[in-house]
């Protein structure tokens, strides 16, 4: 099928970018979205032009490296990652707009590639447990209610792709932060650092310049892993608790 793509082209972080149209005459509906971009890049390379820079790694929807805004929606119209979106979602003759994640804290490096280092720094501010490592203990020694385990797992499926920030009208990374708070906060191993985790991560979130959550819910709709929105309320509960304990002592 014939597809026209409007791609954001930007030479480097300092240059001004713009949307550039390219026509692809033979796109198979079995191609993934990234394979379609690969075809575009082959075409550009053969013509002696600079290929479009975009991030990708596993291409099976589990690493969180890929991700572009397709027709105004992060990862496009299906609830999946860009690499797992297939061209059969589109029709012959479609015009597809492709843009990078947009947020003040996600500066564009080149074309569709943005710097998501802010996410790493939020995790460094508390998104872990400092358990002494050694041989794994017998799993049944630490009972976890089934509902908690399921919900923690749901939150743990976050792949840190950044679609939530790209979708949020406020440029907030609350869903990303809340997923980690929920994942660790529901499990016994996460309890000792529960207060310092939420305080540290929210402080870093704000320091990185992400916006504040106004509960609009675009993040959860854009999330390829379907991280549920109640994680944000859970973060707020933890934060209120931690702040009151910090104040009262």
């Amino acid at each position: 099928m014939k597809i026209t793509v409007n791609v954001w082209r930007q030479q480097d972080a300092e240059s001004k970018g713009s949307m550039v149209p390219y026509v692809l005459d033979e796109v198979s509906e079995h191609m993934s979205f990234l394979e379609m971009l690969d075809v575009l890049n082959e075409q550009l390379t053969l013509e002696g032009n600079d290929p479009v820079a975009f991030d990708s790694d596993c291409r099976e929807g589990i690493c969180g490296t890929c991700g572009v805004v397709i027709n105004g929606i992060p990862h496009g119209p299906e609830v999946t990652t860009t690499c797992q979106l297939h061209m059969r979602t589109f029709k012959d003759g479609d015009v597809i707009d492709i843009e990078p994640w947009r947020a003040g804290s996600f500066p564009v490096i080149k074309d569709l590639v943005v710097d998501r280092g802010a996410f790493d720094r939020i995790i460094q501010a508390g998104g872990y447990i400092s358990a002494p490592t050694g041989s794994a203990v017998e799993a049944n020694n630490i009972p976890v209610p089934k509902a908690d385990a399921d919900h923690a797992f749901e939150a743990a499926t976050c792949i840190s792709c950044g679609a939530c920030v790209a979708a949020c009208p406020n440029g907030s990374a609350m869903l990303f932060t809340a997923a980690k708070i929920t994942h660790l906060g529901l499990l016994p191993q996460g309890q000792p650092e529960r207060d310092s985790r939420v305080l540290g991560m929210v402080e870093q979130h704000d320091a990185e310049g992400f916006g504040g959550c106004t509960n609009i819910g675009e993040c959860t709709a854009a999330c390829p892993k379907g991280i549920p929105l109640d994680t944000i309320s859970r973060l707020n509960r933890d934060l209120l608790g931690a702040l009151s304990r910090q104040t009262i002592g």
Binding site: A103, P169, I216, G217, L229, D230, S233
Partner: protein, 217 residues
């Protein structure tokens, strides 16, 4: 923002109850208005309770607006892209699942604020008196709402309040950590927000329309 908003919602419910006294007739309505001023006497001075409520509400509005300004500035910066628009695509402009109410909070809030100013001038101080001024609160209300454009303006303002509350109630309770449902639409809080919003909006719209249509007691 959540706490100040909930304080104002509590006041709206009480205010709506007072308005519905219109249906009990002039005497009951004026007596209720008078009683509000003598409430708590002699422990409180004349209009004592009213002034306590006014101070609390004014404080709530100031906190609410301050929070909006801080959040708005921060969020504008967070979504901004230097030297370019955030997204150029003209597709899916209205987002994936966000509600109309959720992205009209600020403009809707301004409409509500402008209405509150007009509303105080009209029915509290009576400086603006469409249909004629009066010492009787009941007559002020009836005089005003017999005029079609007053009713229309009031209706628009109440719809703005309704939209503001629809998202606001849900958002306030979520901010306070009460959302335990995985998605925006199914949430039990959405149900609660819709019910409270409908009660407040319809409760406030009934008296003026009844007066306009000549159905009041």
């Amino acid at each position: 923002m959540a706490v100040s908003g909930l304080i104002m919602i509590g006041y709206l419910l009480l205010h709506m109850y007072g308005n519905l006294k219109v249906f009990a007739g002039k005497e009951a309505f004026d007596e209720y208005a008078h009683h509000l001023r003598t409430f708590g006497e002699p422990m409180l001075p004349y209009e004592g309770l009213l002034w306590i409520v006014r101070v609390v509400l004014l404080a709530a509005i100031i906190v609410h607006v301050y929070a909006v300004v801080v959040l708005w500035r921060r969020n504008r910066k967070a979504g901004a892209v230097r030297g370019a628009r955030r997204y150029y695509s003209k597709k899916n402009r209205t987002g994936i699942q966000r509600s109309y109410a959720s992205f009209t909070m600020r403009w809707g809030g301004l409409v509500v604020l402008a209405f509150i100013v007009y509303h105080l001038l009209h029915l509290t101080t009576n400086d603006i008196a469409p249909g004629g001024a009066s010492d009787s609160p009941y007559e002020r209300v009836v005089n005003g709402f017999e005029i079609w454009y007053v009713v229309v303006a009031y209706t628009i303002a109440m719809l703005a309040v309704g939209f503001h509350l629809w998202h606001g109630i849900w958002s306030a309770l979520t901010t306070l950590g009460q959302n335990r449902s995985s998605n925006r639409i199914d949430s039990r809080l959405t149900g609660l927000a819709v019910v409270v919003t409908l009660v407040i909006t319809l409760g406030f719209l009934m008296p003026p329309w009844a007066i306009f249509l000549g159905l009041e007691a």
